[in-house]
């Protein structure tokens, strides 16, 4: 991957669902290595944007470049591959398949990302960074506490050394203490990787941790178009 200035660049991006435009972003850029705090209520087009960014949805029109590559023109399979390789995703909860061990969960991600590097070594390293004992790897993911699961989710998301990390309300299932600790940990881990972070939350108190703040209400012009 040659270095690109923008992690994400959007021009006239439109996504319509059943002929109703739900998302329209005329212009948007996220610089590489940025820490973006994306705020938005449900129904603000936030979910649609995230699905578009990670290639689960294909834009109806416009230009969506991620890491300099245009996702609009990419085939389904290519977008799946692209996502596996270049994007890490952490959800609100249920990040792991509960009946697989932690290691198996991560192995799946490594497989689809066709990890070039010795991911097993990297896994041990990541586990240390998120303060989880290596013994946890052999446990069923479902047996872990929510806090542990969220940290394993970060490890899973980072195993293929993605350039972009999408994190969606990762702390909503955690209590206040764990919430702060998790964010600290996430940012610290990211510092070592240098990936661009897009952090989605409605919790304004977390905004201070981030370099850029984006409000979906301002970003999404869909209402004005329709």
């Amino acid at each position: 991957m040659e270095p690109v200035a923008d992690a994400i660049s959007v021009h006239g991006l439109r996504f319509a669902y059943a002929s109703e435009t739900v998302l329209y972003i005329p212009e948007w850029r996220i610089a590489s290595g940025a820490r973006v705090f994306l705020r938005g209520a449900s129904g603000s087009g936030k979910s649609t944007l995230l699905n578009l960014l990670c290639g689960m949805l294909r834009p109806s029109s416009g230009e969506l470049k991620v890491l300099g590559q245009d996702l609009t023109g990419m085939g389904n399979h290519a977008r799946d591959k692209f996502r596996a390789r270049h994007l890490g995703v952490v959800f609100q909860q249920f990040n792991l398949i509960p009946w697989l061990t932690v290691r198996e969960n991560i192995k799946l991600a490594a497989h689809f990302g066709s990890s070039r590097r010795e991911w097993q070594d990297y896994l041990v390293e990541l586990m240390q960074r998120v303060n989880l004992p290596a013994a946890l790897l052999e446990q069923k993911a479902g047996a872990l506490s929510i806090g542990q699961q969220q940290r394993v989710a970060v490890v899973r998301a980072l195993i293929n050394q993605p350039e972009i990390l999408l994190v969606d309300e990762p702390t909503s299932a955690l209590d206040q203490d764990n919430r702060d600790a998790f964010i600290e940990l996430l940012l610290r881990t990211l510092d070592a990787c240098g990936a661009t972070l897009i952090f989605v939350s409605h919790d304004r108190s977390l905004a201070g941790h981030f370099s850029t703040q984006v409000d979906m209400a301002e970003l999404n012009h869909a209402e004005r178009v329709a």
Binding site: N76, D80, A84, F112
Partner: protein
């Protein structure tokens, strides 16, 4: 890795998966079991008699004559008089004859009155002659030669004495106990009804039925007789001669032809059995499909996760098909294990009841095709949940 994911996913739903596998295993058991018994019965029947050109008996149905003379199933409606037998045996084209006289039994096993030509001319399988495991053929009136199964089941050795019963019920009240027979020979196993038969001379049979002097022990009649010709070309000529015989109404059948008739008369039943077992299989496969489809709700999260880490919708569909294959394989293994056990336990019962030797080997081309059909059916119905998973995977509601 993917097999492992599929496997773990199945063990997640242990009870519904176990029930599905049980239903599928049962249907495979029925399908393969029926086919196996059918094939074995057919070949066992076919190998029971060979080298005999004609079977002659009183006029009755072709199949009936074949069944009572060769398979000792059912009873003759009429006998053949000794005179007719001798006249036909004396026809110039006839090389040999074997008289068969049935009607008595010993502890449920049929007694056959015959003569030494039975041991010389009777052939089974690929023209195999009868051979002795011990002893010799009978010479005197009160000597008996046992089939292998009779000797084994009843534990008789050479020199043992036994008493015959009148009629063929296992518990007859009329015993011919004034005339015990001595075991002088035991035949080697043949896998035919011969194994379930006690063989005595016609003279011996006559002696126990006729009170008084044991001179002139020529029977008045016999049940049927087997005929070997000097030349097979004459078979229809002799058959016609028998049916036109003036002394009494007789008929002659070609065993091979009638065996074929017999099987085609069973064809409807065979077809019905196959059809029903196929339906049972289809029902079990639908059950599996429905179970997987019902699991989709709880799977949505897993599918979403797999998609997130880069799995394509095809992969998700494949994963469901892998589960289908795993369940089918487990069901097949279970079905084979159970049928092997059942066959091992049930073989001697089938031999005793029907004189059929059913092989315990379930691996041969015909069952292979059946399993091929099972797998094909499984994959086809597997497309239903696989397609549902695929469709969901195309547009999962993310975030």
């Amino acid at each position: 890795m993917f097999w492992r994911v599929a496997w773990r996913s199945l063990s997640q739903r242990k009870s519904s998966v176990a029930l599905t596998i049980a239903a599928l295993a049962l249907s495979i058991l029925v399908l393969v079991g029926i086919e196996h018994v059918r094939q074995n019965a057919k070949s066992a029947f076919a190998r029971t008699i060979s080298g005999t050109d004609l079977i002659v008996g009183a006029r009755t149905g072709d199949i009936n004559l074949l069944l009572y003379s060769v398979f000792r199933l059912g009873n003759a409606s009429n006998n053949v008089s000794w005179r007719s037998y001798q006249e036909i045996a004396a026809l110039p084209d006839v090389a040999w004859t074997i008289p068969l006289s049935l009607g008595d039994s010993h502890k449920g096993y049929k007694v056959l009155g015959t003569n030494e030509s039975y041991f010389n001319h009777y052939r089974y399988g690929q023209s195999l002659p009868l051979t002795f495991a011990a002893g010799r053929e009978f010479h005197a009136a009160f000597e008996v030669v046992l089939g292998a199964e009779v000797a084994r089941r009843l534990g008789y050795k050479l020199g043992d004495e036994l008493v015959l019963a009148h009629g063929t019920a296992a518990t007859s009240f009329t015993l011919h106990d004034e005339h015990p027979f001595t075991v002088v020979g035991i035949l080697k196993p043949t896998g035919t009804p011969v194994d379930q038969t006690l063989h005595i001379s016609l003279a011996g049979l006559e002696a126990i039925h006729r009170k008084g002097a044991a001179h002139d022990l020529e029977p008045e009649s016999i049940t049927a007789f087997l005929v070997g010709l000097k030349s097979r070309v004459k078979v229809f000529q002799v058959q016609r001669a028998v049916s036109q015989y003036r002394g009494e109404p007789l008929q002659a059948i070609l065993p091979g032809v009638v065996l074929t008739q017999f099987w085609s008369s069973l064809g409807v039943m065979e077809g019905t059995l196959r059809f029903v077992s196929a339906l049972v299989l289809v029902a079990a496969l639908f059950g599996m499909s429905a179970m997987l489809l019902a699991s989709m709700r709880e799977r949505k999260r897993e599918i979403l996760l797999l998609r997130t880490v880069g799995a394509s919708p095809w992969f998700i569909a494949l994963l469901l098909q892998l589960e289908v294959l795993l369940m089918t394989t487990l069901a097949t293994v279970a079905a084979y294990a159970v049928s092997t056990v059942l066959l091992t336990l049930g073989r001697s019962y089938i031999v005793d009841s029907f004189g059929l030797h059913i092989s315990a080997n379930l691996f041969y081309p015909a069952t292979g095709y059946m399993l091929g059909a099972v797998y094909t059916g499984a994959v086809i119905v597997g497309f239903v949940p696989a397609f549902a998973a695929y469709r969901f995977s195309r547009h999962p509601s993310h975030f």
